[in-house]
Symmetry: D2
């Protein structure tokens, strides 16, 4: 990957400049600060700065003088209590800033998370690099016939070459046209702000993205979910790993209560109570829609017949 060699030295020099600070820190996150974690074929995620750690969550919940107490059992208990009861404000007390490189079509989904700060590389002011996302063959999913999303079913092998060919050719052509419109010396040609509009949304952009821990957890819960497009899942999963380094206690509680938990409706709770009373339940008598019934069976690992 081209970018690795390019910024390798910058990262190295940044990691050599050690400062003394009185601020609370996260040891595991310091170990990877500025480092580049590749995602997709040309993308990456880097943590550039952060504020707070698990103790900051505890401190805010306690609103007491001084620092949060040590990671004793009672801190763990408090964080788990907050997560369980969705007492969310203390999780806003941690903040993190990423440097991210991603295709524009992913960026368009990402930006819908509004409670964050963003500064994006501007294609009005600068020329975009010739880097496009081209999926790996195994990620070329076919349109589902049963629902409206990509279904996880791979394309037949015979189709894959054709698709990859089109994607490669399409982005190549578009970039040539882009350069031609800009003119050789990028002066006196068409303005950059207009020329870029001919480029496909598979081209890479990059941005700084700053967000608090609470909103970051919401991002992960929505975008690491299996209903999200595979490409943004890849970013969300990488970010989840970095959160785990940063605030391990919070992350564990998030996983247990939020990510791997489930919300059940009034009707579904009634079904469970019936089962506990030894009653037989069935789709027909459940009052649920087919879809809800299937989801319900899936959550509880029971047969959906």
């Amino acid at each position: 990957m081209k970018f690795v060699s390019e910024i390798e030295n910058t990262i190295k020099s940044l990691r050599e400049e050690k400062n003394v600070s009185l601020r609370c820190r996260s040891d595991s996150l310091e170990n990877v600060l500025y480092s580049l974690f590749p995602v997709l074929d040309h993308g990456f995620v880097r943590v550039i700065d952060y504020m707070g750690n698990d103790s900051a969550v505890v401190q805010a919940a306690r609103v007491s003088y001084g620092k949060g107490t040590k990671h004793s059992r009672s801190d763990v208990g408090l964080i788990r209590y907050l997560m369980r009861h969705r007492h969310t404000t203390p999780f806003e007390m941690c903040e993190i800033k990423f440097h991210i490189k991603l295709p524009i079509f992913v960026a368009r989904q990402w930006i819908r998370h509004r409670t964050a700060s963003v500064n994006e590389y501007s294609a009005r002011y600068s020329k975009l690099d010739n880097e496009f996302y081209i999926p790996q063959p195994e990620n070329l999913v076919a349109q589902s016939t049963s629902n409206r999303q990509g279904g996880g079913v791979q394309l037949p092998e015979c189709e894959k070459d054709n698709i990859l060919n089109i994607l490669n050719k399409g982005s190549e052509q578009a970039y040539e046209q882009y350069e031609e419109m800009l003119s050789e010396d990028e002066q006196n040609g068409l303005s950059r702000e207009l020329a870029r509009m001919n480029l496909p949304t598979s081209i890479y952009t990059q941005w700084y993205w700053k967000i608090n821990l609470l909103n970051l957890l919401k991002f992960v819960s929505l975008r690491a979910d299996s209903h999200a497009q595979w490409e943004i899942q890849e970013y969300a999963k990488q970010i989840a790993e970095l959160i785990q380094l940063w605030v391990p206690i919070t992350y564990q509680a998030f996983e247990d209560y939020w990510l791997d938990g489930a919300s059940l409706s009034k009707q579904q709770l009634e079904l469970i109570k019936a089962m506990n009373n030894g009653e037989k339940i069935s789709f027909e008598s459940s009052g649920l829609s087919r879809r809800e019934w299937d989801e319900f069976c899936d959550i509880l690992a029971i047969s959906n017949r």
Copy 2:
């Protein structure tokens, strides 16, 4: 324009269904509710719903029982006072919802206004139409050599045909490739969510956009500004006309105090005081940067020599 005939009947039938309501209304806005205002070659802006009017601003400022008082001189005075002193919260009490069709590269600038609600047409779930923004020849601006934006200078005539050719060909090719990847019946081909990534950002999308009056004024002040890209200016100007219909008193105050006013720095205020005292001012003695000096001369219509 294709879309006009398509939705003409819908708009007509919507405009025939008159309801009685106790809510305050804006007569001039009711006259154009649901109607389509074309922007660029295939885009449009439509007002779909609204809440409040100039009286709602006054009412909130007065926080008194009952409705805001009639549009007497004192209401005008109060609204102008609020605008002048940036007492902004009463302007949040009005809300408006638009239906907008716009190219993706414009949508990407637009969405940076975070304090709004958006539902966009989804290219994961539905196929995009074959509609791309192709500028009029007179809007093909050249890259500026002095700054980094499109400079307002038109391309030489000889270049225009070439550029238009490229843009037309580029979008045509991209759409053909899109359709080929999707497969003829849109089933079993590449998933829509992947196929769309080959489409350029000049393709049109559409969304519902709901925002309060205060944030809408901020949007207009930034996007109707001459530093914004010409294409988004066109939308902002159309929206400004609709605001004027909706809340005429507020709009007039916005224009006088905000849009056509200027913020001057401490140093610039000192220069005006000096001028008023009969002193001679010059760039050299001003302490301003060249850029600030030019802006200053521009605002006060004085020669910048």
Copy 3:
């Protein structure tokens, strides 16, 4: 109640001014628009304006031309689907504005819901009325010995008179002191902005509060909850009834999936699976904390032994 007679006429005249509008409306909410719903001893909730209805949610989810379709079964299904999967953005497309009178200590909890617009009666500019919240005897709850909130246990009868005496005397004294500091003619006395700081937080204030439907549902889910202070619950419950009038389909889905549903953790889901497999579960072997175990048993109505 004093305020009723005061604004009765205003409400009556507002309800007589019928306008024709092309906007979508909510019949049941129009029936009570501007009307006053008393809460606590001197407080109230009034709907002043609104935008959208259940159809607006559907329309946003469909992002199609024209109006949302009729309340067919499929609209109900779509809204329930959105609620179940927390596809929340379409619920932002409805907006409502309330006029609310409430004690300051309730207002302080209320204002923590940040995504809303507020204009409050200003005690810097105007004198506050002599109206304080004094609880009914049956609402004088004792401090819980087991947790840190008010526990729902009533004070012993012998204490109630004493408490009510103190509260009545305290607010009376404070208001007398307030008036004395302001001076008789409210001129040349202590400024209102300073004099008000001697008033207790049981005094009533009022404000206009505008919020979208999604954030309003979040408000209700947190503040109508049994862990919230009883006084704010009263407001949240009154507001819930008004939401039900406004958007009945959305409200029903909210109740089924959100309000009366429950979030279960990974560990709790495992316990249910074990039960379904005929295994015996117990607190000791559950791995849950005592508190989680009790909550779990409560949700599923099983004995917590």
Copy 4:
């Protein structure tokens, strides 16, 4: 001041725990991290944590790899350019967290700044201390007869003693009643959540408050302004000094372009142009309201006759 001795040791120990970190830092702010800056009679402001410095603003504006460049002249120029043109997003890239102790009536104004994270000491869960704000005699301003705010005119000396007497007596009585209602052992008495409602808004509360630099500058510009109540001005001014330590370049630009600058309306700009052309201007011919005219004369230091 009682609290100083109480937390002196905590601060001392916090300031002894030096960590090594790779994050960018602000030397001057590190020097006062955790330290207590007194405001009013019992209040204070402390910086507990921060993220970013002037370089982070530059880095976001440049969206380039690696760290922001050194504080060269061009960095200063860039920050001033951003501030002048209200390119505000890069200023969101810095974040700061305060621990603040303040009277409730100040907290009620403060909390209106919505884009911030707050965790407040809870009077539902804990007993409030016996600390009330009592103004210094010189801050007892009289109600203005010409406008509706406190006018800056002091009360006549003969009134001051009486007022201070009332305030002291009022808070004393209220606190006695509070303790009586809570019962001696704080068990079985009235619940804390109800007992606190009898306490006046001059009582002190405390909170953690986290906010990004942009929103903090907005806070300072509104609350350090002479139209704000004197008490909150005191906090805003203390915070302004801390911003100056943290991001000195940004603060200087903020002062020059924002705090000490002025926004002039279209009409006011016309008047300046007329003056520059040697024309005589007057209130009568200006078209301004009396109030605008006075403000205009004030900004330009010209006689308002």
